[in-house]
Amino acid sequence: MSTPDLTAERLVKRFANHLAVDSLSFSVQRGSFFSILGPSGCGKTTLLRMIAGFIAPDEGDIAIGGKSMSGVAPNRRPVNMVFQQLALFPMMSVGENVAFGLARRGMDRQERLQRSNAMLERVGLAGASAKRVDELSGGQRQRVAIARSLVLEPTLLLLDEPLGALDLKLREHMKIELKQLQAAFGTTFVYITHDQSEALVLSDHVAVMHEGRFEQIGTPQDLYYRPQTPFVAGFVGANNRIVGRATVRNGAMTEMTTADGWSMRALQYGDSAVGDAVEVFVRPEIATLARSAADLPPDQPAHSGEVQSVLFDGANSAVLLQEIKTRREFRIALPQTGQFSDLRPHEKIAFSFDPQRAVCFAARSGVTV
């Protein structure tokens, strides 16, 4: 196996009384798309800036391409960064922006022109070289920022939430473009975002970050179908979260009951004993709806609920219902066939889910049953 393009060992960064990065170690393989996913304030921007060289870690080391980067200034690292606000130079033309890094390397004018024009063509901006930065649209500026970094053929490209400022349609389009660009160039991308949809669509591997630590690193499928911590289960994708006490431990399954008497079974992750507080996560799409309990799959425990509202969102439609006894909210994805599209608020409905596909964790500290 070749040397990983990026290796971090026990990185720590403290700001005043706040531990932003808490002893992180991970590595990123060459040519992969690695995302760091986490809510605001989890420390991902700090981590990225340490890799870029703008902040020095308090402890630990970063190695890029096998070489340690401690003490190496940002303008000397084989890393380039696409900033959140893009940071295109308004006092230069598009071509000059893209050629900026090449000029710093002492390349002569002819070669600079050739390379920057070739790069602009590759990102779909052929002929835009003479334009000013403020004449471009959001998506075009995005591509200039990426071109400006990729033209230097870095070992690692860092992207700091680059799609945040774009509208929905453009964001969806740029997600596909970014994935294609990464595949075409083969450069290792390290991408940070709080949008889990971006992380899942774009990446080969995702690390979910929370309060300075990685909760889980894995493929998008791993994170979605096999979350290892309650935070990951709740953060990645939509999920129903029900808190209760474990009543029966049966091999890999746990049966739990909420404080107000709703019982269900789920697959246990990690340890918990009978009587412990637990959190159960059920994905909206694994539940089945039926007008009467008789129509539900026979091997699954049946529950009943009352429709609270129907959230229409095209193929992502869902129904928000309340469990009949406890009035706890539960969200179920509507089948895309349009079968239950005529549900009305206050209708009584039956639902069930396969307990093997629901997950149960020991409750985090601070969770009240």
Binding site: A52, F54, A73, P74, N75, R76, V79, N80, M81, F83, Q84, Q85, A87, L88, F89, P90, M91, M92, F100, G101, R104, R105, R148, S149, L152
Partner: protein, 281 residues
Amino acid sequence: MVLGLLLAPALFWLLALVLLPHVDLAILSLRERVGPRQYAASLAQYKTFFEEPLYWHVFLRTAVMSVIATFLTLLLAFPIAWIIAKLARGRAGSLLFIVCLIPFWVSETVRTLGWMILLRESGVLPALLVKLGLASVPPELLYRDATILVGLVYTSLLFMVVPLVTALESLDNSLIEAAYDLGAGGFTILRKIVIPHAAPGITAGCIVVFMLTLGNYLTPTLLGGKNSQWFTEQIYTQFITRFNWEQGAAFGFLLLGLSTALVVAGLKITGQQFGDVMRRT
């Protein structure tokens, strides 16, 4: 109607206190005395300026020293503005700005007299030099070109710092970081990113300082004495000492015209537009 009323005070000020006196002086400058109480229209006053070497030598000297003073003020003000705009944390920036502002709480006369107390032969600095053993007798530090420059720069510093701080504050830090990320060093960033971005502010500051130093009467005369040879002193001499208002008026307009020409030339050379520059002040 309302707009007219709102503009009226400014228009009145412009018309009565600026435009009319200028017109009056212009008329004055275009006549010469042919006999007691008899004046005829002529360009003699303007001709004198070009024919008499003293006058345009003095003007040239004033212009050159003003350019030097402007340049020195820029060199000094840039690091100060950079620290206030970018490096100072919290209140340190405001504090530094107030330090630049405090000298202006006293009038220019008092400030210049302060410099005289420091620099004259019997003053503080020469005494210090003697004490440190760097001179055997207290040297006369006044009445030199360097003294005039020191006084002018001191008086002009604030007028350069203010537009520079405005210009530098609007520079996004991520641009500097992006430049570092792409391989640029500190000096390159200054040359390619900071200065082009701050160019309107620099130009605005330079125009203001140049105009102020060119038209300054008090500081060069007090600090330079008889050696000052500042053009405003010539204007004063014509008006007050020789009662030759026609000549003085002509000199005044020549000063206005030539300094405007210099500013326009400067703008052309640096490729700035006047409108842009004034908007950024």
